[in-house]
Structure formats: structure tokens, C-alpha cells
Amino acid sequence: MSAAISSIEPMTLDALRRKLAERGSKPLWRSLDELAETPEFMEYLHREFPKAASEWQSGTSRRRFLQLMGASLMLAAAQGCTRQESQAIVPYVEAPRDFKPGQVQHFATATSRGGYGLGLMVESHDGRPTKIDGNPRHPYSHGATDVFAQASILNLYDPDRSQTVLNAGRISTWDQWLTELRPALDRVRAARGRGLSLLTGATSSPTLIAQIKDLLQQFPEAKWHIHEPCDLQQHRYGGQTAGQRPLDKLYDLTKAKRILALDADFLGSGPDSLRLTRQYAQRRRDELSSAQMTRLYSAGPAPNCTTAMADHHRPLPAAKVRNVLFRLNQMLSGAEAKWLPSGLAADEQAWVDTVAADLKQHGAESVVIVGDSQPADVHAFARDANRQLGCVGPQGCVRYVASILAAAADGVRPLAELVDDLNGQRVAVLAMLGGNPVYDAPADLDFAAAMKKSSATSIHLSAYDNETSQHCLWHIPALHELESWSDIRALDGTASIMQPLIEPLYGSATKSAHDLLGVLAGEKAPKSAYERVSAHWTQWLKDRQPIANFDVTWATWLQDGVIADSASEAIGADAALKAEPRDEAAPNQDLEKKSPTAKSLEIVFQPDVAVWDGRYANNGWLQELPRPISKLTWGNVAGVAPQLAERLNLQDGDLVTLTLDGRSVEAPVLRMPGHADNCVSVTLGYGRTRAGHVGNGVGFNAYLLRGRENLNSAQGLEIAKTGRKLDLAMTQHHHSLEGHVEWTDNTRPEPVRSGEIADFEKDPHFLQQEFDRHSPPSLLPNFEYSGYAWGMSIDLNSCVGCNACVVACQAENNIPIVGPEQVRNGREMHWLRIDSYYRGDPTSPETFFQPLACQHCEHAPCELVCPVAATTHSPEGLNEMTYNRCVGTRYCSNNCPYKVRRFNFLEYNDATTPVLKLLRNPEVTVRSRGVMEKCTYCVQRISAARIVAKREDRSIHDGEVVTACQAVCPAQAIVFGDLNDPKSAVNQRKASPLNYQLLGELNTLPRTTYMGRLRNPNPDLVALEADRSQAPNATVHPLDPQQLGAG
């Protein structure tokens, strides 16, 4: 395939633009390859699977294959007649109170997002957790979760988890460790703690922090370091804010009419993204008038969920965010006389000025959000802008609170100091509670070399025997969050108790950080983590309510998943500015020198949206999750703008050498429409060498480029072509809907219908076609539904493309992963996918998301062609698959216009690894090879609700059946319910004038319908951009360095 690519002359951007113009007014397009009509794309379009995808993969010959097939047929026949193996029923000795075997239970707990808490509600089947959802009572979850929470259940049952204590790589025991550690600890104690260094990740756990502080009191000269590779606000661990607590921002977007997001993916990642997505989507969905609708501006280096949702996105190098804010503050203050040059190019400055005018007009109803990857002084600029807008305050769009993460104020020291100590042989005992600094510490610190040089007794508590464990004398296997007690606080301070759902899978060898700290503190009778946590909160309650009954309150906390009245108090706008003042003079010096040019590129380091900082690298669900927009799986890339790729003559998958400050890595290139020019974005967390069977050797390690001074972005990157090429596993072209590229046929509606709010106000039905309101006659029979009629509505105005639904579907329905080779063959098994589309110029297009699963058509093309009646229509309108009847003809998939059916080409489900059996949802069949499968509308949940309702002799209430994708959605984009109930929420949605059927022109009458996307562009900015695109070559060429500073 790669040979074919190289033989094609790459198409220039101008040629692509011409092609776009030929296709009528602003058509939707799916990728640059589609625009160029490369042979690969055309093949994907016309074939369900790429050529040869159905062939036997390995070197097996056709004859051998037939032999195997014959043998397996006989085996299958024989298996059909085998007697069932005998099975044991094992009841309890003493059954727990209120336990009913076979019935699902839910427990509230919490998980950590870079130290901040996210409330969870975990489903337990007979004592084993199987599915994680959000806790509706938690202020940063509201019942939703992100992809990591969904997938972390797989980490619990990961067969690669570390199971024994290791001493220099050899199996040892906890007791052995205690014995051998004692002399070293005694020496440290005698020296008042000198030589004891503790390294943890970011934490807000009150019990853990108290425990560490006790330890530091006992050992006054011991040191506590924090290393959190993807906590992008590294300044909190030392430096200028020592002694003072850094600020956290609490946004309230329910009132925000104008949002300016600068290098901020507030909808896609971060500890508050679920809450902000909920607020943003709700307003965007409910306020459908140009006066009230939120308008989102964004500017930043790499495309993400937030830039895709923006009404106006401006590709902008990370270094220029400071300039934009500088200019914005000037515009807001209005004191024109004192204006200094902002360092922006003329067109950039015009963009900022137009945005500033709009923000200023809306004053307190607008807010500026800056991404965490920006340095502290840029955040100070943003605080100043928000103060000038008047949106800071308890009723405003943003409040400030003192960060609850352990920081310099708690005596935390930076990682660099630890490396100095290690190199200077000043460390006798190094205890690392979690983390993987050998892999993810800044490259110029060379943590591995320091570890080798040091003679310290090093201890690493970790769930995996990873890169760092290898360099440590002792490795202690860590408990998963669902196996141990702890506590955590959310961004606003709300505390949650983390309670275990299951006994430790690997017995008493696995320990928590609380246990390890107990040993370091020299406790004679070590307390359990439960005792520590409950003791801490008993004291907390006693301090506040001396007469409260702790047991009752504790039970309430556990049940609710949140501790009432534990949130922090907000800090006022002026106090906030005073807390972290901005340096008036400093930025001006930076304004010019930091702008990237074609010679000296900018590199932006971002945590990966699937494997984060690398901690989820061994999680197959996340590895195979198509990233938002790029649809890349199994790996990371160096993202570049199409115009930069054209200048450097780079194609997708070309391997390049990235060199920064003398350090270099090889990375494949991916052109990203909407990426900032002269800028390369890389995601961290890949290139692991000791992650486990899934994560080893996937992608390239971007940490190797990351220096301590430039953790988030750096200038001076050099890029050189190697001439080699990598076949990236991307799903962007898989399952393309037929029809939408027949550009000449302008009457055919596009898969994503979108328009502007102004048009909607003129005619609310402007996106609908005749067939959306009246279905045309059909030869196929209609069904009569006298009971329930299930249906779904998906609001494209709300969907931010975060992918949580895709993983939720995978977890709920036992969907296997297939690996990168199979993904390249188009065999990924996700029942639910999110299609992304672009509109407009390839350098800065509008982006659209469309979650797509089985549409459950009334006139389902698949049902007609199944020769064995394995896919049938149910009395409730579901299009059902009966797996044990399917013989795998694949006719149904062939006949499906939505391309939502998935075929098990190989035995993808691991049915042999014992620990993975615990993971499966017992309510859903684990499908085997040769069987077609697809979305069932979570029929197991419908059945469960129906049984409960029928037992109580009533009908199912609206909202009682919640599909997995609906439950997880932070944007509430998905609504499911009974179409025969006129009052149901799904009927309310479907009554919207924006409601439309995907491929409705085929008269398949899908049960899932969509609500069109409405955009709210700024007319002034539209005019400005129109002027700009008319200027010759204005968008193609890089910014002229001469121009900078002239504005």
C-alpha cells in the first residue's frame, strides 16, 4: 500500500482548494486524502473492507487454510454435541447483608485526574466491578465520565499488572523487604530524616497529605518531591510561588454568552472538562437565538474537541497566546495612548480586535479560558482580562480558589532537586509512590542516569513493573483504585471517599501508598488504609460538628460519594490577581522572540487523549480508541499543518527526525487541517518499553524531546525527512457513508446538516428535507408497535466528540480490541464510532462530529438479506442480532448503508486469560469468531428494566432505560426512550425543527435521528476572514518574521 502512496504525485493545497470550489458551495469533506481522491480513499469508499482484508493474514497458504477450515468445521460440529461440563455453585459461608446473588449493585467512589477527584458510580456483579460510570451527585461528574474512567476497569483486570514484590528484578516478599529496609531506615531516622526522599504524583488526598506531613514532622530533614508529567502547571511544585498556594479556576459556563479559549481544550481534557462540557452543551442546546446562544472563539496550536466546537477557530502557535492576551487586555482597558506593540501579525491582530470588541460588548457574560499548558504569567494576563470583563465573582463566569493539590506551600520540592540529590549521593532511601519518572521525567534531567549513579535504597510502588521499577532495588505492586481505601478532593475542594469494590486480586502482596508510608514512618502495628481514612474524617467531622454521629455520617458520605460542605472558599478577583501578580514588563520582551518561523519551528507537547501521560499505555481499549478528529489508533504522530507539510514535502506517515536542543526522536507525520503553521504538536505517553504486552513499542517517546524549561512547548525545533514511511492505523476512511462524495448531485443532503443561527431564526426548519417530515411510500411492510417503540436522538449541537461513548459501549458490550494490524484492515469492532467531517479551507476548516451506531431502521436493509434470520425486527422496533444463529455470510453488513455492522473475523475476544473473565459484562454474550455484531440499543438494559417493571406490574418509566453511551455523555447529546410515549424526552428532542434522518433519502426510516448543528459566527469576523482569503496567498504562506512586532 505504501508503494501506491509514493507513486502518486502529492496534491498541492491550491489544487485541493480548486477541487473544493468545483464541488459547489462549501461541501463537507472527510480528509485531505478524500479531497485529493487518492486511490486508497476511493477503495475505502467503494469496498466495505480494503482489498485483501478478508484474506488469511499470516503466511498460511490457501490449502492450509482450507484444511484448517475443514478441521474447525468438524470441531464445531463435534462441539455442538458435547455434553456441558460440570460446574460448581459456590454460595457464601456467611452472606453479606442485603446481598442478592445475580443482582447488580452500585457503589460510589472516586478516581484521580492529575490529583483532582472525579466521582464515580461503579457497577458490581456478584462482587466484581464490571462497569464504571459517573456519580450524578459529584459536581465534576454529574453522572458522566471521561474515556479514562470508562477504560480504567480494564486496568484493574490487566493480566500484566505486577503481582509480587521484586528485589532487583527477582521475586521477593513484603516481609523480606521490611527486614532489609530496617537498617537503612534506622540510619535515616538517626539523621533526623536526612537522606530520605519521597516522590509522589500530584495528590489532593487529605489523608495522604496528612500522613506525609506527619512523616516530615518525624523526619524534619526528609524531602518530599512531586512529579506529575502532565500536570501542565508545573510551577506549583516550586519556583516563584513557594509559600503561596497557586490558584485554580472554577468556570461557570451556564451564563457565558461569549467564550474565548486560548490553547485550552476545556471540553476535551482536564479535571473539569465533564462539568464544563455539560454546561456548555446545555446552553448551546437550549438557547437557540442569536441573542442568547453561546459563541465560542478559540485559538491554539493543535486541533482538539474545543477547536472543533468553536464558531471561530484561529490556528495559533502556543507562544503567541501571550501576545493575544496582551492585545486583548489593551483592547479591554481602552487606554489607547499607552499601547505597546503586541507582536502579532496584522491579520492576527485584526482577529483579536474583533473578538475583543465582541467580548467587551458582553462584559460579565463573557469569559477568557487559558489552557493549563500556558505559563503562569499568561494565566495572570487571563485573570486580568477576566477582571476587566467583570466576569469574576461568585455569580460570574469564573471564580478563583486556592488549589487543593499538594504544592510548594506544603513543603513540596521540584523533581530537579531530587535529581541533584541523587547525583550528589545525598539520598539514602528513595521511596517512589507511583509514577514512572525514568520514562517521563524531563529528558535533560536524565533521571535514569541519576538512579544508576545513586547508591540509594530505591523503592518503587507501582501497579506495573515498568521502566522505573527496572531501575529500583525494590518494586512493590500497587493496589488499583478499586481495591483500596483512600480519599480525594475535586477541583472545587469537594472531598470524596474512595472505597474499594473488590478484595485485592493479587492478595496481600499488593499495597497502597498509605501502607508504604506507614512502614516508612516506622509504625509498629501498621494500620489499614480504611482505619487511616476513617480516622482522618472522624477528626474532620469532630472539628466541625462535635455532636454528629460519625457512623451515620460516614455511611451517608459513602452512599453519596461526596462529603457535604467540603468545598473550598472562592478568592476575589483582586485578591486573585494579587496572589499571583503578573509581571508588567516581562511579557513585552518575550513577545517577539518567541514567535516560530519556518526555520525555527515550535513544538507543543500534549498529554495524549487516549493514554494520557503513558499510564494507560497498556490499556487496549484506549490504544484502539480513534482519537478525536485525526481518528488515529495505536500510536502517536507529529501533527503539522497541511501548508507546512506541503512546504516540507511531507505526506501522512512519513517518518521525520525531530530535533530539539540536541535531542532527537523519529516520528511519523500527520497532516492536521486546522493545525497552526510553523508548529509541530506531539502527544506524550507513547514509546513505552516496559508498559506491558499491549503498550510496549507503540508509537514514539516524545518525552525524549521534553526539557525541564520547556515542558509544554518549545521553540527551535528542527525537522528532517528520513525517507521512510509508517503505515498509520487510522480509521478516518473506514466505514465511509456512500453518497456524500457524489459532489455533482447537490440535492443529496449531507450526513451532518449544519447551518447558522441567523438562518435558523428565519426558518427553524431550514435544515429539514421533505422526507424528514413525511416518509415516502415504500414497498416494504410497516410494523405495528402496540407496546414500546424504542428510539434515540443525538444532538450534534451538543456532541463535542470526546469519545467517552465509544469506550462506554465497549465496556458495556464486551467489545474486543483487534490490534493495529487489524485496524489497518478496517476490522475494528467498535459498535459506536464518531465520524468527523470538515467544511471549508483545509488550513482552518470547520469540524463536525457525528456519533454513529446502528440506526435501527424501520425498513432495515440488513433484515431482508439474512438467509438464516439471525437479524430480525423486534416487536419494540429494535433491529436484533441473534449471535448463535448467525453463520457469518456478511450480507447484512454489505447491505447496510450506515456501515455500522462489525464482523468477528478472528477470535478477537480473549476467552482464556482467567482474570479477563472477571471483566466481562455477564448480561451480554461474548461473541466468537465468524459472527456479525452491532449496536443493540443496550437491549440487556431494556430487558432488565422491563423485568423490573413487569414484576411491579407497571410500564417502564421514561428515563428508566439509559443506554451506556447516553449515561456516559457529558454533553447529554444522546437521549433514548419510548417513541410511543408522547411525553418522553426522546420525543421532545425529535419534535425539534432541527431533527433529521441520516441518509433519510434511502427511506430506511432510522430509529436514531440527529439534530443538526447550529453555528453562531460573528458577522464582523466572517467579513474579516472573507477579506483575508481574498488576499493573494494570505493563508498559504507562513507569517513573515519581518512583520512580527510591527502591529
Binding site: Q103, P781, S786, T925, S943
Partner: protein, 264 residues
């Protein structure tokens, strides 16, 4: 060239060709019959248990209610098996020295659960829920047989799909009043067909037929497809009504035989 085979060989070759075909069919039929036989499905075969627990004694002689031990049968998919402490609730006082009960006492002493041998084992792709059957008037003995007469438990019915469908197609033949669900001695009355229809209506058992209509025999599918038809084809629950001049409307006859009721 001379003939190699005698003309009589024609008859032999024909006989052997058809004979072979016939033999294959017969072999298939035999295999299928064997597969469904009581011998192979172990219907009526008492299964040995770690403790020879006698339902005949506990249910038949003493009259214990099913729910004393199978406590979650009304609320959960799984009927539940008694924890050791439930056994010892009585047997700490009665027969508390009996050698036969030593495994039970050992279980509590060593905190190791008893391991009972499963008698009713449904295939994993079929989802069965006790609570809804009990709630709709399907008695224990309807499926499990005269448990009160079983010294060691055995399977009374094959649990094959065909067996399930007998009732799912015609629940009126099997349902009983709810108060008799746990009654081991309940026998269908003489007018079960009529009583059954009344109960199906009363308990809102999922049948969409108008009340009182005669139950229809499953249609014999005349067309050729039909490995699947042998079990249940969509014809079992579709009823096409041809309306003059309009698209046909499909009415669902019997949601209880819909695939997703048992298969997910």
C-alpha cells in the same frame, strides 16, 4: 476396449450412492436424536453432591418453603443458593453431630464455601431470569418437576430451546395462580386452557393477542429455508396482514418468542 465393469455394477453403484446419502441422513438424524436424548442431556439422572441433600426430606417431609434457601428467586435472575450459615441455622441444633453433615460444619469452621454440583446448566448465550417467571405465575415444579420427591436433585426437563418455547408460545398451558407458584402439589385443573387464558390476561403476560382468541399453532414454514425454521423462525411471531392498496402491516403476534427475550 473391453468393458471393465459388468452391467450389473450399475445397480450396485446406484444403490451405494443413494445408500450413502441415506446413511448420512440417518446418521445425522441419529446424532440429533442422541444429542436431545435424556441420556445425553442427563434428564432424570440424580447428581451426586458433597452433602447428600435431600429435597424429598426437606421439602416433601418437613415442608420447607423453596424461598427459605433459594431466597433471591423473587427478586433476582438467580434463585440463590443457601449460605452455609443458613444450613447451620437448623443443623447447629438438629443432627449437629451427624457425620453426613460434617462438610457443612467444616465449611463454617474453615470459612470455606461448600461447592455444590450444578444440576440445571443453561448455555451462556441464553439469559434466564427466575424473578419474572415466578412473578408471572410459572411455578417451580413446572420446570423443576416434583422436587419434593427427589432424594438427590435431578433435571426434570432438558432445558433445550424447544422446551422453553413450548411455554413461551403458549403460556396459557402452563401458568398457575401466583399463590400456587411455590406449591409442589399443584396440578393443572381440568379447564387449564381457560384458566390459563384468564391468568395470562390478568397477569399481563406479554401476549399481544386479543384476550379470548384461540391460540394459534406455530405456522409451518413452507419455504425452503430452514435449518432455522426447525427452531423458530420470524414467522413464529410475525403475522402479515395484507391490506388492499396499502403497504402490508406486520403485526407481532407473540413478543415472548422474540429473540432478545433470551438472547443478547
Amino acid at each position: 476396449m473391453a468393458q471393465i465393469f459388468h452391467p450389473n455394477t450399475n445397480a450396485i453403484s446406484r444403490a451405494s450412492i443413494f445408500g450413502a446419502l441415506f446413511a448420512v441422513v440417518i446418521a445425522g438424524w441419529l446424532l440429533d436424536s442422541f444429542n436431545r436424548s435424556d441420556y445425553w442431556t442427563e434428564v432424570g439422572v440424580p447428581r451426586a453432591q458433597p452433602v447428600p441433600f435431600s429435597h424429598a426430606h426437606h421439602v416433601g417431609d418437613i415442608g420447607l418453603d423453596c424461598r427459605y434457601c433459594h431466597a433471591s428467586v423473587e427478586t433476582s435472575a438467580f434463585a440463590g443458593m443457601p449460605a452455609t450459615e443458613v444450613c447451620l441455622g437448623c443443623h447447629s441444633q438438629l443432627f449437629n453431630k451427624a457425620a453426613i453433615l460434617e462438610p457443612v460444619r467444616a465449611s463454617l469452621r474453615e470459612q470455606k464455601p461448600l461447592q455444590w454440583n450444578r444440576v440445571h446448566h443453561l448455555k451462556e448465550f441464553a439469559y434466564f431470569n427466575h424473578s419474572i417467571h415466578v412473578a408471572k405465575g410459572v411455578g417451580c415444579s413446572t420446570c423443576h418437576g416434583p422436587v419434593n420427591e427427589m432424594p438427590l436433585m435431578w433435571k426434570q426437563n432438558s432445558l433445550s430451546m424447544q422446551w422453553c418455547l413450548q411455554c413461551h408460545r403458549h403460556p396459557e398451558n402452563y401458568v398457575r395462580p401466583k399463590e400456587a407458584v411455590f406449591d409442589m402439589d399443584w396440578q393443572p385443573p381440568a379447564d387449564q386452557a381457560e384458566q390459563g387464558r384468564r391468568l395470562v390476561e390478568l397477569y399481563h403476560i406479554a401476549k399481544l393477542e386479543p384476550a379470548g382468541a384461540a391460540p394459534q399453532e406455530p405456522r409451518k414454514s413452507a419455504s425452503a429455508s430452514k435449518a432455522a425454521a426447525a427452531k423458530s423462525s420470524p414467522d413464529d411471531y410475525f403475522e402479515e396482514e395484507q391490506q388492499t392498496g396499502a403497504a402490508p402491516v406486520v403485526k407481532f403476534r407473540d413478543p415472548l418468542t422474540n429473540c432478545s427475550v433470551c438472547h443478547r
